[in-house]
Amino acid sequence: MSTSRATWPRPSPLSSGGPVRLRRWREDDLTALVEALNEAEIARWMVFPSPFTEADGREFLARQIAASGSFAVTGENDTLLGAVWVRDIGEGRGQIGYWTAARARGRGAASEALRQLVDRAIELGYARLQLLVEPANAASARVAENAGFRREGVMRGWMELRGSRPDLIMYGLLPGDVSE
């Protein structure tokens, strides 16, 4: 039962020492958000405007505050560590996404945040959760695998990202993957 909940590796403690939490986005996340999304690794993998301006940030926050499945990931002192979200794509399926601020990488925060999102999504009744990762984005694939997602295939030319249509790895997670 390597995938059972009890045997999930716990993240090593964050150097900030604080717990990882999911909470709703707030308008006063703007400064930390703009800082996080102007960082190079985010621009490399995500599709946010670059540079990401305060106006972009306000628009982003307005959308996330209105969305039911979108959460800010925070650490000690409510520091912004990243984002996780789940979007209903019909028939009991949820499409998941995440990004992690530079300061929070490599310490298990993203995996922990994703596990918490998975728990909430399963409680909400999703029968399948899925996410797509670019094959070159090994860090993101590790986050998915640490949270219990299983690699299911390579979707060729799935969508346009930054001017081309890369192949994307499909990861799936079913409620049974993470329960006893």
Binding site: E91, G92, R93, A127, R128, Q130, R150, E152, G153, V154, M155, R156, G157, W158, M159, E160, R165, M170, G172, L174
Partner: protein, 180 residues
């Protein structure tokens, strides 16, 4: 006028053996007869039992929500031997669904129809990718997809919801590169 965001093809879709044509009012009894088949009920969303009203609703959706066709013999456009539809999946993707009448199986009807419509979607309707899902325990449909030139890309667990039950789905894709 578009159908499910696809224009009607400007040329007849035929490979000399099968042809795809628009639905006709007089096809209703044939659709009802074809869809009584328990194999179709098992592997598709087709309701069971299947009524004349179901057939009219199906043909209407094929006109309004997707680009749908009756599959017929190339030299006899009257007798319906199956159906195929292409719907827009966003982000430059088209999604195919099809069924073949029991008496017309085993002679490549499905693979020919899939090839005709997939190739049209990629080369003439500007889609970067066409895909289809089959139940994992439907090898006949998987053979048809592969014979049509789509490639097997993975098994998406619990992806399909058919008549209240979830099934693993094999996903097949074709991109413009496959046709280059």
């Amino acid at each position: 006028m578009t159908q499910g965001d696809f224009p009607r093809p400007e040329r007849p879709l035929s490979d000399g053996v099968v042809a795809l044509r628009a639905w006709r009012e007089e096809d209703v009894p044939a659709v009802v007869r074809i869809c009584q088949d328990p194999e179709i009920a098992r592997f598709t969303r087709v309701p069971s039992p299947y009524t004349e009203e179901d057939a009219r609703g199906f043909m209407e959706r094929h006109e309004e929500e997707e680009l749908g066709f009756a599959i017929v013999d190339a030299d006899d456009h009257d007798e319906v031997i199956g159906s195929i539809g292409l719907r827009d999946d966003g982000e430059g993707r088209g999604e195919l669904g099809y069924l073949v009448a029991a008496q017309a199986r085993g002679r490549g009807v499905a693979s020919r129809a899939v090839r005709l419509l997939a190739e049209w979607a990629v080369t003439e309707a500007g889609r970067a990718r066409v895909q289809l899902y089959t139940r994992v325990d439907n090898p006949a449909s998987q053979r048809a997809a592969e014979k049509a030139g789509l490639r097997r890309e993975g098994v998406l667990r619990a992806y399909m919801l058919l008549k209240g039950e979830r099934h693993d789905a094999v996903i097949f894709g074709m991109t413009s590169e496959d046709l280059a």
